[in-house]
């Protein structure tokens, strides 16, 4: 931002062009309220709120319905750019007091606003105007409170009792490999190695290009997260939390050692992608899309784009099965972890808001079954139908949605009130699912080849492969970074980035591993673990206190 400007105000220059651009700022579609079931007719009111979804708009059928019931409309202020550009805008707002009436921010940014006294405490308002919020949070209600006992922001509560149907494990193996091996059970890294080895021996090339048996992306997904998955650990970033709630650095754990050994073996046999250390988020997708990578560790959000490219080119057998793979049969799998709330894009009410109670009433409505149906399913007859007493998206509706990539926004399903959804896999009071993403829906979306592979394993969805859902208080990467931890982490990260490829390519693994372990240790491993230990203890204590244990 090196805009070198000097501000000169020339009197008399402000004419003509101002008028036609300033007309009509806020349009409030005043509903001559027809809702009789409400005790009083809600008065129309418009709040400003920031959003990182630039295509969000309020003139959609669903938002209009929300306005009809609550009287509340929102005017979206789009925040764009990377997180640093967005951060600039939030800082500007805070410094100038120019923030919108309702804020939708990450906890980290909200902390700044709270410390600057820009947020309203909400607990009394919730007490008075938010019965459904209280009811749905239930035993988790106290989790909303900050250390000072006030509630400054609201977010959703995840009430899922079963694994969401769209969940999937992160180890991906090509259908073709499984098919050729006769759909063997693949639960351990050794079994994975064997099928890759066999397939590679028979098919050194695919469509004339060399086959790549195993690949990955980015250092975390090459050396860190796979070790957590294979060790059956929930994703606490670069850490493992043991049964005594002690935090350990995963980068030097025994699990890590085992996984490096696995990579080392792949490398020695020429089964590892030669570019694995240099692939980026820009270059990896096109490589996957070519269909010659047999297996890898890819999270769903990353794999879906290249996989749909594979699909669209008709190579259905080059899609991936997503299987949880462990070190050995003795590992207990606890990787399918869930947090009771999802505090990421929280709604807070700023001091600029003259009618905070209306916002709470609005959010309270979102916590009712009616509200949930509206924000997650849409409008009955348009976005979903009722069949045999269950909510259901017919094929025509799905077709209609798929034909228009903007449908979510035109209909209002994508708007940020949707963050208050109870989540996939959750059920409403009527016993039916809170969101359309049900098992039945996922199955309908699969192509025939996918169904064939799933059938061979006697499963219906990829989620069925996962271990049972477990709740954890929080993920370690969600909590605020302890003071001084950033510098230490960075130093360790550097050693890790530098040494990891050496370990993978090492000819004398055990010796190099010991050397690497010492290097990490001398970079401040103990201090870092201690810092996170303390921070984690606070989280766990607060959680237990809030839950009354």
């Amino acid at each position: 931002m090196s805009v070198l400007l000097i501000v000169l105000l020339i009197v008399g220059c402000s004419k003509s062009e101002k008028e036609d651009d300033l007309t009509g700022t806020t349009e409030t579609n005043t509903p001559v309220s027809t809702t009789d079931d409400k005790p009083s007719t809600p008065e129309a009111i418009t709040f400003k709120i920031n959003t990182t979804d630039p295509q969000a708009r309020w003139d959609t059928p669903i938002s209009k319905k929300l306005t009809e019931t609550t009287g509340v409309s929102f005017e979206y202020i789009p925040i764009i750019g990377g997180s640093d550009v967005a951060q600039q805008k939030y800082d500007l707002w805070l410094a100038s007091g120019d923030y919108p009436e309702v804020l939708s921010l990450q906890p980290r940014v909200l902390g700044k606003y709270r410390d600057a006294g820009a947020l309203m405490p909400l607990e009394d308002l919730i007490e008075q105007y938010g019965p459904n919020i209280k009811k749905k949070f239930g035993k988790f209600y106290n989790l909303l409170k900050d250390a000072d006992g006030h509630i400054y922001s609201l977010y959703n509560v995840q009430t899922a009792t079963e694994t969401p149907a769209n969940s999937q494990a992160n180890f991906a193996i090509q259908y073709e490999v499984l098919k050729e091996a006769g759909y063997p059970e693949i639960k351990t890294l050794d079994q994975l190695y064997d099928v890759l080895f066999e397939y590679y021996k028979k098919h050194p090339t695919i469509d004339g290009q060399p086959t790549i048996p195993f690949s990955g992306i980015g250092s975390n997904f090459v050396y860190n997260n796979p070790t957590l998955s294979a060790g059956g650990q929930p994703d606490h970033g670069n850490f493992i939390i043991d049964s005594e709630n002690q935090v350990h650095l995963n980068l030097v754990s025994d699990n890590s050692k085992k996984y490096y050994q696995f990579l080392n073996k792949l490398y020695a046999e020429g089964l590892l992608d030669k570019e694995i250390f240099t692939l980026t988020y820009d270059t990896a997708p096109s490589k996957i899309a070519q269909g010659r990578i047999l297996a890898g560790y890819y999270p769903e959000w990353f794999l879906s784009a290249p996989e749909s490219s594979i699909k669209s080119s008709g190579n259905l057998n080059r899609q991936y099965a997503k299987l949880p793979i462990l070190f050995d049969a003795n590992v207990e799998d606890h990787s399918n972890a869930f947090t009771p709330t999802w505090s990421n894009n929280n709604w807070a009410i700023s001091k600029n808001n003259k009618h905070p109670e209306r916002v709470i009433q609005f959010i309270d409505y979102l916590f009712t079954d009616e509200g949930q149906k509206l924000i997650s399913w849409g409008i009955e007859g348009v976005d979903y139908e009722i069949k045999d007493g269950k909510r259901f998206r017919s094929d025509e509706i799905i077709q209609k949605m798929a034909a228009d990539s903007d449908y979510n926004w035109k209909q209002g399903l994508g708007n940020n009130y949707n963050r208050f959804s109870f989540g996939h896999g959750a059920k409403l009071d009527d016993g039916d699912y809170a969101t359309p993403l049900t098992k039945e829906y996922m199955i309908r979306g699969y192509d025939d080849v996918t169904k064939e592979v799933l059938a061979a394993y006697k499963k219906d969805t990829w989620a069925d492969f996962l271990p049972p859902l477990e709740y954890v208080p929080s993920f370690l990467w969600q909590i605020a970074e302890p003071e001084g931890a950033a510098a230490l982490s960075k130093r360790i990260q550097q050693v890790w980035d530098r040494e990891s490829p050496k370990l993978v390519m090492s000819k004398n693994f055990d010796k190099d591993w010991e050397k690497y372990k010492k290097l990490i240790e001398s970079s401040g491993q103990k201090e870092l673990e201690e810092m996170y230990n303390k921070a984690w203890k606070v989280v766990v204590d607060e959680y237990n206190k809030a839950m009354g244990q």
Binding site: I6, L8, E17, N156, S309, S405, N418, Y441
Partner: protein
């Protein structure tokens, strides 16, 4: 070709092929983007697009142009570029002339103040508060006024004026010309190269800028083309990563998403073409306007 020595022919062949090569190298990024923008986006993900699209489509453009805000935003961008550039060039020239006058008492101190502004900036937050207190937020004027004078451009023009022979303005003054006449009838016509240069700087700057739009004008009625395009880009990125709708509903495999790469290429082509049109009009001034023969000393 008759009568030409072989060496000259060889030289020409070599010369032209060399220049052609440089031309292609220079144009390649642009051609590549053009090819990507005209290629089917799921196919683009596979990579390997060079100069020609592999699976021809115009759907990327259709997606971008389906945005209803685009036309009005383009009009505002155009207005901003034209009005902003004209005013800015006018003001810059006036100020540069004043500062180039040796008999102007504040010449030194004003120049110093301006140069300071190039090295030390007030920072984003104070600047924002200033703009807000001047009631410039949510106005069209905020696009034009704050950047009306750029110290850098003034210095360029001033140093151009400085190296013009002083006899030119002196003789005009003897003939009874006022300062305005000296500036606009004598100096500006022979300074077209530098005027064209800053016109180009300023107009490209105006055309490309979106940050002031983002910071100061939240109203849809004031958004500019670049900002709208930026939004489309963000939207395509969020569609792919799914970050915007982590609790979203539509199964990604069902939706025909466009890859951010395609959208980015398409947008680049869309925003580059209009401003490219400015170059041919200004180009002739880069060679003209030399003061050769204006003075005999």
């Amino acid at each position: 070709m008759r009568g030409r020595p072989l060496s000259s022919v060889l030289f020409n062949i070599f010369n032209y092929s060399f220049l052609l090569l440089i031309g292609i190298i220079t144009l390649y990024p642009f051609l590549n983007l053009m090819a990507i923008s005209l290629n089917e986006s799921l196919d683009t993900v596979k990579g390997g697009i060079r100069i020609l699209p592999r699976v021809w489509t115009t759907s990327n453009y259709e997606i971008v142009f389906s945005n209803p805000q685009l036309l009005s935003a383009a009009v505002r961008s155009l207005l901003r570029t034209v009005i902003g550039t004209l005013l800015s060039v006018f003001m810059t020239t006036m100020l540069a002339y004043t500062l180039s006058r040796r008999d102007y008492k504040l010449r030194k101190i004003l120049t110093l103040v301006m140069v300071m502004s190039m090295y030390v900036s007030g920072g984003l937050i104070p600047f924002y508060i200033l703009i807000k207190d001047l009631h410039l937020t949510d106005t069209f004027l905020v696009y034009i006024l704050p950047g009306l004078i750029s110290a850098f451009n003034v210095l360029i023009v001033r140093s151009y004026f400085d190296q013009l022979p002083e006899g030119l303005s002196e003789s005009a003054r003897i003939d009874g010309a006022s300062d305005f006449q000296i500036l606009f009838r004598v100096l500006v016509p022979i300074s077209m190269p530098v005027i064209a240069t800053i016109t180009l700087f300023i107009s490209v700057g105006h055309w490309n800028s979106w940050f002031d739009n983002y910071l100061y004008n939240t109203s849809q009625n004031l958004s500019l083309l670049q900002f709208e395009l930026m939004k489309i880009l963000m939207q395509s990125i969020s569609q792919v990563t799914g970050s915007a709708s982590s609790t979203g509903h539509i199964d990604a495999t069902l939706v025909n998403t466009t890859s951010p790469e395609s959208i980015r290429a398409t947008l680049t082509i869309i925003v580059t073409l209009p401003i490219l049109l400015v170059y041919p009009f200004l180009q002739k001034y880069f060679v003209k306007g030399i003061t050769l023969g204006a003075m005999k000393e």
